[in-house]
């Protein structure tokens, strides 16, 4: 990763305009019209996107985007040259690589090592093409070890990370004095909906650069060959849905298979007058297989919980996929049976559905590790809070207050979201999540107390506390949050609860929720 150091907060508006709540550097409609990328757009559309488009200037060597972090904007280079850098290069194939690889002791070790590496690459949207070229999902360029990658005026980058909430695949640094136009996610969504040419452009980029990587992330397509992928690339449709929008309704004819590439989708079934939540789907999940396999109408309803991006495959293409890969049919039947079981279970035990509904309404579905306290057994001794304070130099990262659902208290403590929006726009990169890990942590030495992350956290789980900064040599409001007691096997709050009332729950695996969170007696 890039070296990080504390930055003068005065420079923030220049280098990190997206960290500002009310940006002053918005572009006027006339200025927008002058940009080739917006030249053909109608004034009404420009007015809609104008509050979300701003200009940002960078000095040579300023970091614009950092690899592995999250971004909420696409960047259009209006002036100057930017350079793309990979902090951690995927290993090239060939004998030279073999020499540089760490010593491995067993076949299992080799497999684990290779698997971990490819997973990391996929997680940040990178793929290694034939000949060692590295395809970066959100950059308009292939990366080669022997070639410097520069982007000049008129190039757009970062749109896929912003739209699909994938970590940025490479670091982008200003090579010269650079002026970029930041098109923030709301504007990107408006353009996706209302500007066919822009949508076509972004979709084409997605098909070319990210689709294959994203599909291969899904177990279903992992074994498909390149030819099949290329074929599929042109046939899929990329569709967006607004929060609350019905994607498909239970009982309607099943005509497509969907792969979620961004956002959350609620799966529900009707039971009398009630609409029972069965589960929810997230990035990488898919739906539609049950209806197609069973040759019946949709057995469930699917609704967008937030802004959802899906890859749509027609029934005919999906059938072709099944013919080409017979093992898929077997796997899909297993998934189908599991979902039908979920439906039966939800109808028999509506309380379980209640938990899912609560998780969707409160945002807990984003949580990779949510602290929950069973009030039935909690003696309110506050040992959890004390243990947290012991681990963090006397400052606890949560208090035993929050919202209550049945017998559970969900304290104001970081959920370790799957897509941590708090990481967007940190001016110094103090807030990080190493790829493949759960904990999002803040480095106190690098944090400058700008409050960007705490303002971005939708759940108010980042707290600013007074701190005498040893590098800046002044008092700042340090951003603090739960880091799962970094370095300890079990978070201190859980380990030190004398009654086992504090647990950590991942809302990624919804199937486990009813067992983890039993209904109140």
């Amino acid at each position: 990763m890039e070296p990080r150091e504390a930055t003068d907060p005065g420079n923030l508006s220049r280098a990190f305009p997206h960290s500002l709540e009310q940006p002053e550097n918005l572009l006027t409609i006339e200025e927008l019209k002058e940009l080739p990328i917006f030249a053909e757009l109608a004034d009404t559309l420009l007015k809609k996107i104008q509050p979300h488009v701003l200009v940002a200037e960078y000095r040579p060597n300023d970091v614009i985007l950092r690899e592995g972090e999250y971004s909420d904007a696409a960047y259009y280079v209006a002036r100057g040259v930017v350079e793309i850098l990979l902090a951690q290069l995927p290993a090239p194939s060939g004998p030279e690589t073999a020499r540089r690889e760490p010593v491995v002791t067993s076949v299992a070790h080799v497999a684990e090592h290779l698997l971990a590496k490819s997973e990391r690459e996929r997680a940040i949207g990178r793929a290694v093409a034939e000949g060692g070229t590295i395809i970066l999902s959100d950059m308009p360029s292939e990366f080669r070890r022997d070639r410097q990658i520069l982007l000049e005026k008129g190039e757009l980058f970062g749109e896929i990370s912003a739209l699909s909430r994938y970590p940025v695949s490479a670091t982008v640094r200003a090579r010269t004095e650079v002026v970029t136009v930041l098109i923030r996610t709301p504007a990107l969504r408006i353009l996706q909906r209302s500007a066919p040419k822009f949508k076509e452009f972004v979709d084409r980029r997605y098909r070319e650069r990210a689709l294959a990587t994203h599909l291969r992330n899904v177990g279903l397509f992992a074994a498909c060959d390149d030819k099949f992928m290329r074929n599929l690339r042109e046939r899929v449709e990329l569709v967006s849905f607004e929060p609350g929008q019905l994607i498909v309704e239970e009982g309607s004819p099943a005509a497509a298979f969907f792969l979620v590439r961004g956002g959350y989708v609620k799966v529900s079934a009707k039971s009398g007058a009630a609409d029972l939540a069965l589960t929810y789907l997230r990035k990488g999940d898919y739906f539609g297989e049950a209806a197609i396999l069973l040759e019946e109408p949709w057995p469930f309803s699917f609704t967008a919980i937030d802004s959802v991006e899906v890859v749509k495959l027609t029934r005919a293409d999906f059938q072709e996929l099944l013919t080409a890969s017979p093992h898929l049919r077997e796997d899909l039947w297993k998934v189908t049976v599991e979902r039908l079981k979920q439906r039966g279970s939800a109808i028999r035990h509506p309380v379980e559905s209640e938990y899912l509904q609560m998780a969707m309404e409160t945002g807990l579905i984003h949580g990779e590790s949510v602290l929950m306290i069973d009030l039935n057994t909690c003696t309110r001794c506050d040992d959890c809070v004390r243990a947290c304070a012991d681990t963090h130099g006397g400052i606890p990262r949560f208090i035993r207050e929050g919202f209550k659902f049945n017998n559970w208290l969900i304290p104001t403590s970081c959920y370790q979201c799957t897509d941590p929006v708090c990481m967007i726009g940190c001016p110094t990169g103090a807030i990080t999540r190493p790829i493949g890990t759960t904990e999002v942590s803040i480095d106190p030495l690098t944090c400058i107390g700008c409050g960007n992350c705490s303002r971005r956290c939708p759940w108010g789980n980042i707290i600013n506390v007074p701190y005498s900064h040893p590098v800046l040599k002044k008092e700042i409001q340090l951003a603090t949050k739960c880091d799962l007691s970094l370095g300890r096997e079990v978070p201190a709050c859980v380990q030190m609860c004398p009654h086992g009332s504090a647990i950590r729950v991942s809302f990624r695996d919804v199937g486990l929720l009813p067992r983890l969170l039993p209904a109140v007696d």
């Binding site: 039935n376 057994t377 079990v490 030190m496």
Partner: protein, 272 residues
Amino acid sequence: MKRLVPKKPVWLAASAAVGLFALGIAFWMRSGNPWNPGRVAGGLLFGVAAALLVLSSILHPLRRPLLGFPFGTAQRWTQFHIYGGCLSFLFVLIHEGFRLPSGTVGWLLLILSAWATLSGLLGVWLQKWIPALMAGNLRVEAIFERIPELIAKLQAEANALVEGSSEVLDRFYRDDVEPALAGVQVSWDYLVDISGGRERRLAPFGRMAAFLTPEEKPRLEDLKALFAEKLELDAQYSLQRVLRLWILLHVPPSVLLFGLMLYHITVNLYYR
């Protein structure tokens, strides 16, 4: 009934097995020669075991500084504390040969052991009963130390709410509501009736509604909601206070027991 079910049955089973085994050994040894505490190897053995268990129970507060060592988690520490404490009392009885002590120190040791064990078990029961009672019956959940502050806020909200209201509502507030909002009202009654007579105490709001104009009724409803929340906070405070006060029944006698135990060991070693 569920409150009596052990959280970790394996600890209960293991402790019961150890206890039965200890009793078996004690009776087997006793059958050979009359039990003389401290002089017969068996008696001494159980005395040492009891002392070690009391010592480890006294170390219970170290679970956090020791990061759960050697048990790994605080919950296992607690289980060990509970079952170890019970076993220590059994070992004391075995050590005594199931006879009444002859001296003052002996009596004190026996009484304190029994007290520490029984008060501990009372604590276990309270800690199982009260949290479930609160979770099942109270909508409000608050940190004990913050409850007075929360009540002060409620009172301020209520004051602001009745400002500019009709004379009838104002008088009702000043006479019947405001005194009840002034600070925490602790009561043991919540142990018997967690609602604290909620329906009875909210009944005047219903009666008052008849005297108010339709425009003022929502204000009365808001006031009633604040009052109901205050009652819940009182219940929270009173019950959490019981969970804290119980410690006073258990810890000081246990520390005294530990001190006397040290005295007992020292004297016995010195005059042996």
